[in-house]
C-alpha cells in the first residue's frame, strides 16, 4: 500500500515537467497514472477478498463440522432419492424394462378438383404408396414405434404402420432394424428392415415431414419412400467436418425393385453425406447417393383413362438412380425455439433399361424401354414465431423414354404406345405447394396445405387439412 502512495507521489512530482512535454508523452503519462490507479483499486479489492477469506476461514472451523454433517446428509438423501425406484411391486419392476413406446395418430380432410382415382404422373410408372389419399375425411397412417437397447451390443427399433386401404386395414412393418452398438473405428452396422439412407427426406418418418404429401420425385422414383430389408454398413470420419460414407445391400423386392431373385439381393446403394456449421446460426448438409436396382417384374400402375379397365405394367431390367441433396438450416444463435428457417432441395436422375410388359384384358404386349428421367424439388419452411410455420415447395419432373414395341401380343399397337404410363404425353409434371401449420406443443400439429398440381396434363387444385398427434415417449428428431 505504501508503495502505491510512493509511486503516486513520484508521478505528482513529475507532473510539472511533463506539462511542457509534447502530447504523446503526456498521453503515455496519463496511461501510467491510469495503470497506477487500476493497480491501486485491484489491491484494495484483493485486500477485501483477503479479509473476506479470513472471515470465512474463521467460520470454516465451525462450518467444517456442519458441512461434513450436510455432506453425509446429501449422500444419504442421494441414496434415498433412488430408493423409490427400488421399491414398488414386482410388476412395476418388470415394466421398468419396457421399450420407449410412441404412437402417432394422423388423419386428414382432402379435397381435389380432379378424381384422385385417376391420378398419374406423366412418363412414370407409379408403385409403392404413391397414390393420392382419398377425398374427404381419411384416417392416415397410424404408427406404433418401439425402441430400446436390446443389450450391451444391440439397439432395436420397429415401426408398425396401420393404414386403411378401401374397406380393409393394412398392417405394414415400415421398419424393424437392429443397430450394432460396439462396432470399432467409427463404423456402424444396421440390419433388418429400414429406410434407405439415399437422398435426404427418405429416412424420415412421414409424420416429421414438412408437407402433408411426398415430393413428386419421391412418388415417381421411390414409390413415396424406400424402405427395404437388408443391411447397411457406414463409416463416420473422425474429422470436425461431418463426413459419413456408407453402403447398403438390400433385398430389392419393394419399389423401385420388383421380385427378389438373387440371394445377394437385387438392390445396392452407396451414399456420402457431408455437413457442418457456419457460425452458430447456420448449419448445412450435402449428400450424394446412388441406388442400383435389378428390377424383376416391378408392377406399376398404367394410365387409366377414366374407363375403369386400367392396364397394368411390369418392368424388368436395370434401374439406376442418382440423388443429390442439400439442406440448409438457420436459427438465430442456434436456438430454433422461436424462429428458424429450413431450405431443402433434392435432384434425381434415373436411367432405366429393360423390357416393359403391358397387360390389358388378359393380353400382354412387350416393349423395349430405355428411359432417362430427371426430377427435383425445393422447399422452404419458416417458423416465424413459436408454434407457427409457413412453407412453400416446388416440384418438377421430366421423362425422356425411348419405347419400341417388340411384340403387340394381340393388342392394338397404337393404343399400347399411347396408354403405357411411360408415355409422357409431352408433358413435364410440376406442382406448387403452400403450407401453414400450428403446433401447440412438440406433440401435436395441425396443418393446412394447398397444391396446384400438374402431375398429368390437367390442373388439380388440392386442399388438405391434416393433424399429427404423438402419444407417449418423446421421439428425438434427426437433422
Amino acid at each position: 500500500m505504501r508503495n502505491v502512495y510512493a509511486n503516486t507521489l513520484l508521478v505528482l512530482i513529475w507532473l510539472p515537467f511533463v506539462a511542457a512535454a509534447d502530447n504523446t508523452e503526456l498521453e503515455s503519462i496519463r496511461q501510467q497514472i491510469e495503470a497506477l490507479r487500476n493497480e491501486y483499486e485491484s489491491r484494495i479489492e484483493a485486500l477485501e477478498n483477503r479479509l473476506e477469506q479470513a472471515e470465512s476461514q474463521a467460520r470454516e472451523a465451525g462450518a467444517e463440522a456442519e458441512r461434513a454433517r450436510q455432506q453425509t446428509e446429501t449422500a444419504a438423501t442421494g441414496i434415498a432419492a433412488t430408493e423409490p425406484a427400488a421399491t414398488g411391486t414386482l410388476q412395476q419392476k418388470i415394466n421398468a424394462f419396457n421399450p420407449a413406446i410412441t404412437a402417432v395418430l394422423q388423419g386428414s380432410f382432402n379435397s381435389y378438383s380432379e378424381d384422385p382415382k385417376d391420378y398419374a404422373v406423366s412418363g412414370f410408372q407409379l408403385g409403392g404408396e404413391s397414390g393420392l389419399p382419398a377425398q374427404g375425411l381419411t384416417l392416415d397412417e397410424t404408427e406404433l414405434m418401439l425402441s430400446a437397447n436390446v443389450d450391451q451390443l444391440f439397439y432395436g427399433q420397429t415401426t408398425i404402420a396401420l393404414h386403411d386401404d378401401e374397406e380393409e386395414t393394412e398392417v405394414e412393418v415400415e421398419e424393424a432394424f437392429i443397430d450394432a452398438l460396439a462396432m470399432p473405428a467409427g463404423t456402424g452396422l444396421r440390419f433388418g428392415r429400414f429406410y434407405s439412407d439415399i437422398g435426404y427426406l427418405n429416412r424420415f418418418h412421414t409424420h416429421t415431414w414438412d408437407f402433408r404429401d411426398a415430393p413428386l420425385a419421391y412418388r415417381a422414383f421411390l414409390g413415396k419412400q424406400y424402405s427395404d430389408t437388408g443391411m447397411q454398413l457406414s463409416w463416420l470420419a473422425p474429422t470436425d467436418l461431418y463426413l459419413r460414407l456408407g453402403g447398403e445391400a438390400l433385398r430389392g423386392n419393394r419399389f423401385p425393385g420388383g421380385d427378389a431373385s438373387k440371394t445377394s439381393g437385387n438392390s445396392q446403394s452407396l451414399f456420402a453425406k457431408l455437413g457442418g456449421d457456419l457460425g452458430s446460426s447456420h448449419s448445412w448438409q450435402l449428400g450424394l447417393s446412388q441406388l442400383w436396382v435389378d428390377a424383376r417384374d416391378r408392377r406399376g400402375s398404367g394410365h387409366s383413362h377414366g374407363g375403369g379397365d386400367s392396364a397394368s405394367e411390369a418392368f424388368t431390367g436395370d434401374s439406376n438412380l442418382t440423388v443429390a441433396d442439400f439442406v440448409w438450416k438457420w436459427a438465430p444463435n442456434g436456438n430454433p425455439r422461436h424462429r428458424n428457417f429450413k431450405f431443402q432441395s433434392e435432384f434425381f436422375y434415373r436411367k432405366e433399361d429393360g423390357r416393359n410388359d403391358f397387360t390389358e384384358d388378359g393380353d400382354t404386349a412387350v416393349l423395349d424401354y430405355d428411359g432417362s428421367q430427371k426430377g427435383l424439388y425445393a422447399q422452404a419452411v419458416y417458423q416465424f414465431t413459436q408454434r407457427w410455420r409457413i412453407g412453400t415447395r416446388y416440384d418438377w419432373l421430366s421423362a425422356d423414354n425411348k419405347l419400341k414395341l417388340r411384340n403387340p401380343g394381340g393388342l392394338d399397337p397404337d393404343e399400347v404406345m399411347e396408354e403405357t404410363a411411360l408415355n409422357n404425353d409431352n408433358h413435364d409434371p410440376w406442382r406448387w405447394s403452400l403450407m401453414a401449420d400450428w403446433s401447440p406443443s412438440e406433440f401435436s400439429r395441425l396443418r393446412l396445405q394447398y397444391n396446384r398440381d400438374r402431375s398429368r396434363s390437367l390442373t388439380d387444385q388440392q386442399w388438405m387439412m391434416q393433424y399429427i398427434m404423438s402419444l407417449g415417449s418423446h421421439g428425438a428428431h434427426e437433422f
Partner: protein
C-alpha cells in the same frame, strides 16, 4: 464411382491415423457448465467442448451434423440427463458410431443420476406441459450439486484416463477448496436475498430458489414449455397485486416479451440472469457464473 469412393476412404483413414496421435481425452459436454467443470478438473489432459451455448434452449436443439462429428471422437460424454436432452441426444448417440459414449459405457455420464432432483411431479401427464418425470433437470444452479458432480466426474476421468488419475485427484482437491470458499462467500453475500419473491419465465430456477431461499410466486409459462399467453399473464398480474414480486427472471435464450410486459405493468425489474457458463466475459467460468447471478440478484433486490 465405386473406385474413387474407395480412394477417398483410404485418404480419410490416413488422416484418422495421424489425428489419433494427438494426446489428451476429448470430452463432449451437453451443456457449458459441465464443459467448464471438466476444464477445471482435467486441466491440460482434456479437451472439453459444449454442444450448446448460453443462448440456446437445451430442451430444443437440432441434432446437427457438426455435433454428430464431435461425438464421434469423444472419450467422455457428460450431460445433465433427467430427460433434458431427450429430444436430440439419442439421435447423436445413435449416429455417432462411437461405442465409448453409449449408455452403460464408462464414457457416458448423466450427472442428474448423482444429485437429488427437486420437483418430482406427482402426476405425469402431457396435459401438464413439458414435465420431467424424474424431476427438474436444471440442477446446475445449486453450487452444492456442482461439488458432488465434480467428485463423480473426477472418478470417471480417472477410469477413462488412469495414467493421469493423480493429477485429476489433485485438481479436484484444488477445485473443491476454492469452491467451498466461494460457496461460503456467496451464501454470506446472499443472506439478504432470503425470502425475496420472484416471478420466473420457466421453472428452471428451482435449485437456485432452494439454495438461496428465494420465493417463486409465479411463472410466465402457464405450464412448463408452453409459451406465455395473454390470459395467463393478466391473471398473473392480478395475482401479483395481492402477493407482489420483487423481480421477474428469465434466461438469455428466452423470449423477452412476456417478462418485459410484466416488468412494465407490475413496476418491477426484469432480470436476464445467466443460467450457465458463457455468453459474457463475467460468466466465463463456474465461479464467475454464481458471482454474476448473486450480484445481479442483489442489485435488483436493493
Amino acid at each position: 464411382m465405386r473406385q474413387s469412393a474407395m480412394l477417398f476412404l483410404a485418404g480419410v483413414l490416413l488422416q484418422t491415423v495421424t489425428a489419433s496421435v494427438h494426446a489428451g481425452i476429448e470430452v463432449f459436454a451437453c451443456e457449458p457448465e459441465w464443459a467448464a467443470l471438466i476444464e477445471e478438473l482435467g486441466g491440460a489432459h482434456v479437451k472439453a467442448g459444449s454442444a450448446t451455448t448460453a443462448l440456446q434452449d437445451v430442451h430444443h436443439i437440432q441434432a446437427r451434423p457438426s455435433l454428430i462429428a464431435r461425438l464421434r471422437r469423444a472419450d467422455l460424454l457428460i450431460c445433465t440427463g433427467a430427460g433434458l436432452e431427450e429430444g436430440w441426444l439419442p439421435v447423436l448417440q445413435r449416429r455417432a458410431n462411437n461405442p465409448r459414449v453409449q449408455a452403460g459405457a464408462n464414457g457416458y455420464l448423466e450427472v442428474s443420476d448423482h444429485v437429488r432432483l427437486l420437483d418430482r411431479p406427482v402426476r405425469v401427464d402431457r396435459a401438464e406441459g413439458d414435465v420431467h418425470p424424474q424431476g427438474n433437470p436444471h440442477i446446475q444452479l445449486d453450487p452444492h450439486n456442482i461439488q458432488r458432480i465434480a467428485e463423480i466426474a473426477t472418478e470417471r476421468l480417472a477410469i477413462i484416463d488412469p495414467a493421469h488419475a493423480d493429477d485429476y485427484a489433485t485438481n479436484l482437491t484444488n477445485f473443491s477448496q476454492r469452491w467451498q470458499l466461494a460457496i461460503e462467500r456467496w451464501e454470506l453475500r446472499a443472506k439478504s436475498l432470503k425470502g425475496t419473491s420472484v416471478v420466473v419465465h420457466h421453472n428452471s430456477w428451482v435449485y437456485l430458489q432452494h439454495w438461496l431461499g428465494l420465493e417463486i410466486v409465479g411463472t410466465l409459462e402457464p405450464k412448463p414449455g408452453i409459451p406465455p399467453s395473454s390470459t395467463h399473464l393478466s391473471q398473473l398480474l392480478a395475482r401479483l397485486e395481492q402477493h407482489p414480486a420483487q423481480m421477474v427472471i428469465r434466461s438469455a435464450y428466452q423470449n423477452p416479451r412476456a417478462s418485459e410486459w410484466l416488468s412494465q405493468r407490475a413496476g418491477i425489474p426484469a432480470l436476464v440472469l445467466p443460467s450457465t457458463v458463457g455468453g459474457s466475459e463475467a460468466t466465463k467460468d463456474l465461479f464467475g457464473l454464481f458471482d454474476a447471478i448473486i450480484r445481479q440478484l442483489l442489485e435488483a433486490a436493493s
